[in-house]
Amino acid sequence: MAVTVYIPAPFRRLTGNRSYVEGHGQTVADLLEDLKTRYPTLGHMLQNEAGELPAHINIYVNNHEIHSLQGTTTPLKDGDEVAVLPAIAGGQLLTPEQTQRYDRQIMIPQVGPAGQRKLLDAKVLIVGAGGLGSPAAVYLAAAGVGTLGIVDNDKLDLSNLQRQILHHTPDVGRPKVESAQETIARYNPDVRVIPHKMRLTSANATDVIAQYDMVVGAVDNFATRYLLNDACYLAGKPYIDGAVFLFEGQAAVFIPGRGCYRCLFPVPPPTGVVPNPSEVGLLGALPGVIGVIEAFETLKLILGLGEPLSGRLLIFDALTMEFRQVKTRRDPHCPLCGDAPTIRELGDYEASSSSPPAAQHTDEEDAA
């Protein structure tokens, strides 16, 4: 039987930094033997001197702790998901405070304490602390996503507050990554925020993205979007994208190998066709909707829930309050993820930006 084994953050150095590995066995005991053979150092963690499963290691099969099933003789079937989770002090996966804080989501059968542990172990990078990044960050933080990286190079402007709910009026003039960090700490002290006060470029994107499991794009320009798309594909990390325009929003998830943003839109609108791009404006609730969709897709990917918004582009029209989808697919001719790729490293993205440099005011990474 081939099953998927979830490896928690503290053990990942023993599995080549992989959060999921394949395992085999008719029962949990077989699977543990299989893991010991293939990952000997992990194997040491999975048995005590007597060769038994240590009391502080909990094994979950499809979110059910094996002591509530048949212990190590619990049978496995193809496609089962097994989680190997070390208890924290006190013998639990979660502290009593965490159990209470996340009660409403832990009670969801597909989440449970093991799912909550996955959320707490997850590392998500949010690029842009603006109109899209704010609601995404707030919901990811509230759900207990344990590590949130936030990239933004801007200082807060009074005109941002109409939509950027990570920040507050007294924060005007401060770097957005600072106010974002404070806001998130007040929502949920479980969350470690890593501020990246920088503009993401081809020179730094790879190193920043390498520290995270997946990336939420909350940017307002094509240069950064294509950069993120390429960097995530090359790093093998899912990219969750969102965009808004006036009364309309788009969202999509790009999982490496299943099509990328370039497959959807091979080129951005040309630079300089509009001599003086102007703000079109929007109501803050629009990036609110799209940013929350990005957050939900991120939670689904971490928890392995449902069907990701992949292979399709979601289009939201706020005026008619309609959600529509069109299909997206991997383009064999895609220069990044096609059959004969020509993009093998990050290149020059400024040249493909929609806005001429003169029009790129301080908001460059502040979505929406």
Binding site: A218, R225, F245, L246, P269, D366
Partner: protein, 97 residues
């Protein structure tokens, strides 16, 4: 063939703010010609000087990207839904030439 064309927000100023409009044609190409007759200026937003669909604009017939069908030659039948979907930068800035 009478089809319904979904108009994205950035182009609605050309369609008197209508989010969907009817058009006629046995192919996507004919459909665009019909659109241009009713809403002058729309065609140049969708197609370049050589008449090809602009690369930063996607057109879908019943949710399928015509780049993976027959492009402008994609055939249409009654009550098909044609969707025009531009790449959106985000940030509420203009992103359409």
């Amino acid at each position: 063939m009478r089809v319904i064309v979904r108009i994205p927000t950035p182009l609605r100023k050309l369609t008197a703010d209508q989010d969907s409009v009817p058009a006629d044609g046995a192919s996507l190409s004919e459909c665009i010609t019909s659109l241009e007759a009713s809403y002058p200026g729309l065609k140049e937003r969708l197609c370049d000087e050589s008449g090809e669909i602009r690369r930063f604009v996607n057109i879908y017939v019943n949710g399928e990207d015509v780049r993976f069908l027959q492009g402008l030659a994609t055939t249409l039948k009654d009550s098909d839904e044609v969707s025009i979907v531009p790449a959106v930068a985000g940030g509420g800035r203009k992103a359409w030439p």
